[in-house]
Structure formats: C-alpha cells, structure tokens
Point group: C2
Chain length 109, copies 2
C-alpha cells in the first residue's frame, strides 16, 4: 500500500479540522471511517457524485482528519484518531457524538 | 436596535456550525464575541479587508453562531451561547478552549 500525502500531527490546525468536519457529507464519511477502519473510499448509500466524494475525502485527508492509502485499485481510509486526540483532545469524540445525536434527532417522525 | 435575520435554534445544524468555526479569522471573531458581548463588528488588529470581515460575520450569523443587530451606524454582535449549548452541548466550550490553547501554543518562541 502506498500512503497518500498528509500533514504531520504538528501541522494540523483547529480551523482546518473544523472546516473539514463542516459539511454533512464529510461528517458522514468521518462516521464511516470511524466505524470501518481501512474501508475503501467508495461509499454506498450517499447520494453524491463520485467526483464530489473524491473531493470530500481529499479535504479530510489534507486537513489531517483521515489517512488514505492506495491499495491496488482501491483507496483505503483510516480516521487519524490518535493524531486528532493528541492535538485537539475531546474534539473528535464530541463531533462524532453530536453527529450521532443529530442523526437520530432528524430521523424522528 | 434592529435584529438581523438569523436561524431559529431548531434550524441550527452541526455541519454549518462547524463550517462557521472552520476559519482562523472566524475563530478569532467567535473569541471576541465571547469576551465582548454587544461589541461592534468593526474589529481592531485583524489584518483583513473590511469586506472580508463583513463576509465572515455573515457566515457566523447565518450559521446561528452569532446574533447581530443594527444600532445606528454600528452593527453589534453577540455569541448565541445558550442556543449553541442547547443544540450542541459542549461544542462551543471545546472549540473556545482548543482555540485558546492553539493560540498560546503557536505564540511560543
């Protein structure tokens, strides 16, 4: 597997990480990366064009939120939990938890 | 004073609030709104054009992060702490605290 370029943990900034979280599709990608480490970038059930999805993954990778690796014909992703928790303690868990809550809230009849 | 249009607390979304936080200038505006409720939008010491600043305040207002009111020739701003804490418990405090920490970190020689 070949790792795609990514910022070092020291280079992460709060603003760019918050920006990366700041989109409903990217929040969903973060949730999936959290629950399925190493899963391919191609994601079922999201009603967005492939090019849009590629762009969202790129924003997450360049902000340091996810790690991506080329694995043959797949690109696989991992959430950079340790790096995020080291630099911004509590932020990732808060965002994942609030996102879970918002999903269940908006799914109510 | 005349209140500018803003979303109701129920209309706030996690993604748009995170997006609003996701810029270094907007993070600084949030910090100032937090420490100086009702202060005018014109902010000293930020090296950005007035039109850019106006745009950043608008993004914060439209996401529901700040309240703005026209007061004669001023526009005044308040952080919507109660609404944010009601909808996204813990998020605002986490972001303010991490932002403080990042500032002191990056200010170190």
């Amino acid at each position: 597997m070949r790792l795609l370029p990514e910022p070092t943990p020291e280079a992460l900034t709060l603003a760019s990480v918050l920006y990366a979280f700041g989109d409903p599709v990217r929040l969903e990608l973060v949730r999936r990366a959290s629950s399925e480490p190493g899963a391919p970038c191609a994601v079922e059930g999201l009603n967005v064009p492939k090019s849009t999805l590629t762009n969202h993954w790129r924003i997450l990778r360049e902000a340091g939120v996810v790690r991506m690796a080329a694995d043959g014909r797949y690109r696989r992703t991992w959430l950079r939990e340790d790096d995020l928790n080291g630099r911004f303690p509590g932020l990732l868990d808060a965002v994942l938890q609030l996102s879970d809550h918002e999903r269940s809230y908006s799914a109510m009849p």
